[in-house]
Symmetry: C2
Subunit: 402 residues, 2 copies
Amino acid sequence: MDYSRFLSSETDLMRDPEIRELLKLTERSDIVSFAGGLPDPQAFPLDELAEITVFAFREFGVSALQYGPTRGATPYVKELVEFLWRVRGVKASPDEVVVTVGSQQALDILSRVFVDLGDYVVVEEPTYLAALNVLRARKPRFVGVPVDDEGILVDVLEDKLRELRSEGKRVKFLYTIPVAQNPAGVTLSKRRKKRLVELAEEYDFLIVEDDVYGLLVFEDGIDTTPIRVLAPERTVYVGSFSKTLSPGMRLGHVIAPKPLADVLERAKQSIDLHTPTLTQYVAMEALRRGVVERNLPRIKTLYKMKRDIMLDALQENMPERVWWTKPVGGMFIWLKLNAQVDTSQLLLKAVERGVAYVPGKTFYHDMRETDTMRLNYTKPTADQIREGIKTLAEVVREALRS
Amino acid sequence: MDYSRFLSSETDLMRDPEIRELLKLTERSDIVSFAGGLPDPQAFPLDELAEITVFAFREFGVSALQYGPTRGATPYVKELVEFLWRVRGVKASPDEVVVTVGSQQALDILSRVFVDLGDYVVVEEPTYLAALNVLRARKPRFVGVPVDDEGILVDVLEDKLRELRSEGKRVKFLYTIPVAQNPAGVTLSKRRKKRLVELAEEYDFLIVEDDVYGLLVFEDGIDTTPIRVLAPERTVYVGSFSKTLSPGMRLGHVIAPKPLADVLERAKQSIDLHTPTLTQYVAMEALRRGVVERNLPRIKTLYKMKRDIMLDALQENMPERVWWTKPVGGMFIWLKLNAQVDTSQLLLKAVERGVAYVPGKTFYHDMRETDTMRLNYTKPTADQIREGIKTLAEVVREALRS
């Protein structure tokens, strides 16, 4: 039976199936995959979480199994608010919080609540591909602004905003990952952050701040102050425990000015009633006991080591014209071949040789740039990184030659 | 700051805020609430789940904390498929399954994947209000078909389908809760089920079968065969462990023909990547150990007792012209005053007197019927049911008098 006549137009917009199929191959165990975005399993505080779960069942069992509030379990929200204040300097009241199924759901709900067909939305070039996917479903007009080592190019942004204004058009929001950006690995500088906030005021748009890597900066002296701290009224802050506690728990959150949080709550209620309760109680107890804060130095040491191994391997093996970012945190290195090579074509060859990455063009709203790729260094082992980069460099070398 | 200029048109469609606010009052501890849809906490196999969670951490810890497949954790999906075959006679292959955050998310994803602006969707009158909410966000044209004691009126359905066809219009799908319907408490008869399937073939539409109460039938001799068993190619089956294991775990699932399951997977990936992993491993082990099947007789005995207490209390206290359903399972009784009374107006009075319900009109796509209400008998205690119905009968009596 052919089901295509039953499908909505939204289903046409779902992610490039060709790359999708290829990336499925990368799950084979004989492939060194830099394609994923997975934490190192060693980063999970497994034993502590096991013990906490037993405790949570004993102490809060019935509440943890029952339906809960759409915004999030009240005692968890309380702990979360205190945690964000301690570690990120984010001041929020409980009624500004909505707990979500990972930060991905936060992005989906925000897209639905903000974007109508044809609305203007600013995204970084490149940006998180799954954010692009949820936005695409709403059929907005994308305004792309490139990033460099200091994050989004605020001057280019200003030019585009001025141009739109002169045409009587307005931007609804700008989506940014200011710290350790995915995929580019860059971090927004203090100076540009300040200017970005001024522009949001001047041109009256909201900033959706995706702070999932905010706690994963392993270099000193980096300003990681959230935009939310500078402009609480303009900012919708998105966070997650996927990188600092466990991704499988799927615990994300939005901090938004109360009127917006109220709307998000109503949307979330239709979408799935509420985020699973048990995991919220487990996370609550983990926050109470300081598990995340205690665990973080260990994760950062681990990831810094792996990043350095990858940077060294790239330095040692890649041809000279190839360029890559040196991230101060997060999980990704962004690599540019500086050549007429389509990395999505090249992926098949790489996979045949036993190594995988995500082609760069999937991170562009208009699929423009084709000679880039995203490399993850947190999931593969040190040996896999060394071997995999060596292989990848061979593949790249051949491509540049032909 | 006024945020209304940033909101999408979809936010206008979100649930009646007036009733919403009123229902928030019903969470006060001094109110006997028949308004919720919560299981009796006594129904949760708390101790067993606590033990299983410890076991799941020990055995599958790293997998349970890591990102997982969008369709669901592979070993859980395998157990789920076997469970559905054992208890519901549903034959499915793992690649027909998508695990969701409760059945609510299933309904949301199905709405997004099937419905475009203006599409025709058949719903029962009355039907589950949260299903109406997710559908409304897609702006379909609703075709309402009433239910009676035998479920949806297939003759009325046929008339409407014929009329639509004569106008060159087609229905995309019909949404039904065949067993122990929410809110009406009615169950689709064998005869009508057969006719419904024939009509789906003849008029080429899909059936979205919401089977969340399929295991909660406590009378003998009721045909509860899922529609999916009769018409696997036409049916998208939605299930949940919220009523049989724990709602707080938020574990639902869709069983759909593979081409549709593939599309659902792509949608789910954008929406939240995947359902939390840990709870899937806990549920997997619970299914392996037969917890649900062992626990069900206890839940059914409990709910049957509570239903009988409510039916007796209604019989004893309600004025003669008032009519209500005698559900063979599920969690709700549907009550009709047979009078010119708007129960959404009446709710305020009821709440003042210490009793709450959900006004019937919220369960109609066109908010038509106003003299009905939904009563939940699973959450309140036996004493609360007796006292609450007595109070409610007084409120109703006064309303009928004036």
